[in-house]
């Protein structure tokens, strides 16, 4: 999808005033946070497990090329094929060529954020394929024609009422005329519609949460079982994933899996953890006859070589989104691209470009809650600050803001002059208090006074009072 991150401010304004969205976000926010706390309350040695997981990723990233080559070798060994894609365009072409080769008509998909990153659905639909998302959340947003708003809960922004309306609108033509309002009925209706798609699809596309180098396996964790049907029923299984997903061994996988679901949904482990290792072998009762893994780079090699390397430890658990008060206020769509919340505010500028993503790293209070919960100890606030430094160096920030900072910086290095300015300002602020009609004219002040009273200053500065009477506190 094209990035709409340049519209962050407008998107956020709309989101804040959308009562349905706010209701949905309010529910999700508390739910995820409490579930995570609960999940970790019954896990001993949390810090130790987390540290070990971080070390696995750090080690893998330090010799990523070697593990990727080993992964490819082992995929080949079991009869699958690895495709390397530098860009989203290359990745789309690889998938389209495979689908063309097997004369596919219908394609089903399990949830894959990399497929969102490369805008695969749009490319497939434009090429005339019938594409059906099979993850319930993805299916809902496919019907709505919207991108996901959360990396693990793509339709978290939708209320039940909205889903009822959506199903009624799209399923009526399939003969399902009754409005379903209860969650079990909604799920059953989706199952009914999707079953047909599962049975008739020619190609199944899934993502991968991990790639295991020693076995050449791709791993997905799901709760609905749709992933298993997507990778076993159609004749061709394509995995769209990215290079940083590789880890060395199955042992490493079991370690990191202890953290993934606990941090995301608050489950100890997801209902399904599925390893796909090559196509159907002789004697296998089911499985695809072709197994392809498309490995996307899209800026990751550059990240690996630079100051954003730590971001590649991300396992896409969603904890940073769930704990981010800005995400909780404006929702995922405000961020304008595939990834949202703190991890999206780092990834989007790096993948889409600093131009046009100006607000993402700045719309953050640097409160640090994301880094506190991150199972991979990614210093997200530090990375966001580093992007701000780049924005400043590349003069992407506004001229006014840069000059303001320079002027303020000049003053701040002249204590005497600064002291005088502050004294005048303290007096001025005290005088202005209670004169909202004048206050409103000052830059930035209306952003504060729209919802908050302007603070009453004491009319003098601490330093001026102190220099006059240094012992007044005694």
């Amino acid at each position: 999808m094209d990035s709409k991150a340049h519209k962050f401010r407008e998107n956020a304004k709309v989101a804040l005033l959308d009562p349905d969205l706010q209701r949905a976000l309010g529910k999700a926010r508390g739910g995820f946070v409490d579930a995570r706390t609960q999940a970790f309350s019954c896990l001993d040695r949390h810090a130790e497990i987390q540290d070990a997981a971080k070390q696995i990723k750090d080690h893998t990233l330090s010799v990523l090329d070697e593990y990727l080559v080993l992964f490819e070798k082992n995929v080949n060994k079991v009869g699958g094929k690895v495709h390397w894609a530098r860009t989203p365009a290359e990745a789309r072409k690889i998938v389209l060529d495979i689908c063309d080769d097997v004369d596919a008509r219908r394609i089903i998909k399990g949830k894959s954020m990399v497929s969102e990153e490369i805008a695969l659905n749009y490319a497939l639909e434009t090429a005339g394929y019938d594409v059906v998302e099979t993850d319930l959340g993805e299916y809902i947003i496919q019907l709505a024609g919207e991108p996901p708003s959360h990396i693990i809960a793509p339709a978290v922004h939708k209320t039940r009422q909205q889903i009822t309306d959506l199903f009624h609108k799209h399923h009526s033509r399939l003969g399902l005329k009754e409005r379903v309002t209860d969650i079990p009925d909604i799920v059953n209706e989706a199952r009914l519609v999707l079953r047909e798609a599962f049975l008739s699809a020619d190609v199944g596309i899934t993502g991968a949460n991990f790639l295991v180098a020693e076995t050449g396996s791709s791993v997905i964790v799901t709760n609905e079982g749709n992933g298993d049907l997507t990778n076993t029923l159609p004749g061709v299984h394509i995995v769209t994933t990215s290079i940083e997903k590789v880890i060395p061994t199955l042992e490493d996988l079991s370690g990191i899996l202890r953290l993934l679901a606990r941090n995301g949904t608050g489950q100890e482990i997801t209902s399904y953890t599925t390893l796909s290792t090559g196509p159907r072998r002789t004697g296998d009762k089911d499985g695809p006859s072709q197994y392809h893994v498309v490995l996307l780079d899209n800026g990751r090699s550059e990240m690996l070589a630079g100051e954003f390397k730590e971001m590649l430890r991300c396992i896409r658990c969603g904890a940073c989104l769930n704990h981010c008060p800005v995400y909780g206020a404006v929702g995922g769509h405000s961020y304008g691209w595939v990834y949202s919340g703190p991890m999206g505010a780092v990834l989007t500028p790096l993948m889409v470009g600093l131009d046009g993503t100006k607000d993402l790293p700045n719309a953050c209070t640097l409160n640090g809650r994301c880094a506190e919960v991150c199972p991979m100890s990614i210093p997200l606030p530090d990375l966001l600050r580093k992007i701000r430094v780049r924005q400043n160096e590349e003069r992407i920030t506004s001229v006014r803001a840069r000059w303001f900072m320079k002027a303020w910086g000049f003053l701040a290095c002249k204590p005497h002059l600064y002291g005088w300015c502050l004294r005048i300002l303290a007096w001025l602020l005290s005088w202005l208090w209670g004169k909202p009609h004048i206050l409103r004219l000052l830059p930035f002040v209306h952003e504060w006074t729209a919802t908050r009273e302007f603070p009453k200053s004491q009319g003098f500065t601490f330093q001026s009072a102190y220099r006059k009477a240094p012992n007044s506190h005694e």
Binding site: L366, R369, V389, M405, A450, S457, Q458, H473
Partner: protein, 259 residues
């Protein structure tokens, strides 16, 4: 860590630019507490710690300001700051800022090792307890993010408050969730900030506290501004103002005498 060079530790008070401009009372409250705790206090000439430029990505400006802070404050046994976020700037960020400048880097690391947030200094380093003061109020405490997450300050303000007899501390829900201040964030993204602070004041109001306290003036201004707008009676103070019984000048954001 350096040991204080005399029985009465010398303390350089970094009052912070916000306190200097908008709430001198917090500076005097800090001095009163430090004096009671047996410190020799000095207030070197100062401006700001450099967070506004640091968080705006302007490292050159930040370094110029940081060098000045290091030059002015490195001679004290301790640098004490009545703000978790400004203390965090000196402790966590100054050493990183000068990674490529060995001379200032070493001085920044040295300064960081002697820098303390006010309340944690009083409680952890000095073992200060509030002398017999009576204050019949119910308070709730907001954990400001930088103090909490960069410096690990959580129990210190509570233990300081508990030493005041008759003061009752009631915890709000989500006391660790950001209030939406975030320095320039609150005016760059005023509407998002407003949503965040309105959730914060809902948690505060649910406690039926008389006062809401905190350790960072930025957050307190944000909370006070929003509480006033909705006509709440809850008064806002820095924890140092309450601990030192210097609340006569009226709550933050309001006129003296009004509560």
């Amino acid at each position: 860590m350096n040991q204080p060079s005399s029985p009465r530790p010398s303390v350089g008070l970094l009052v912070t630019c916000l306190v200097d401009l908008l709430r001198p009372n917090i500076g005097f409250a800090a001095m009163k507490l430090l004096h009671e705790a047996g410190c020799d206090i000095e207030v070197p000439s100062q401006t700001c710690c450099g967070q506004p430029s640091y968080n705006s990505g302007d490292l050159e400006t930040t370094k110029n300001i940081a060098r000045q802070v290091i030059d002015q404050f490195e001679f004290f046994d301790y640098v004490v700051v009545p703000s978790g976020s400004c203390a965090g700037m000196l402790i966590k960020h100054y050493p990183k800022l000068f990674e490529a400048e060995p001379k200032y880097r070493n001085r920044a690391i040295e300064l960081a090792s002697r820098t303390r947030e006010l309340v944690s200094f009083l409680v952890d380093d000095i073992g200060y307890r509030v002398p017999a003061r009576r204050l019949n109020v119910r308070v709730t405490y907001h954990d400001s993010c930088a103090g909490l997450r960069e410096l690990g300050i959580k129990g210190e303000p509570r233990s300081l408050l508990e030493s005041i007899e008759t003061l009752e501390l009631t915890e709000m829900s989500d006391s660790e969730v950001c209030c939406g201040f975030g320095g320039t964030f609150c005016v760059k993204y005023g509407d998002i900030s407003a949503r965040m602070v309105s959730e914060k004041i809902a948690s505060i109001e649910a406690t039926s506290a008389d006062f809401v306290l905190g350790g960072d003036l930025g957050c307190l201004l944000n909370i006070a501004g929003c509480l006033s707008r909705v006509g709440s009676k809850i008064a806002v103070y820095h924890v140092a103002e309450v601990a030192s019984d210097m609340i006569a000048s009226g709550p933050i954001g309001k006129d003296a005498g009004s509560t």
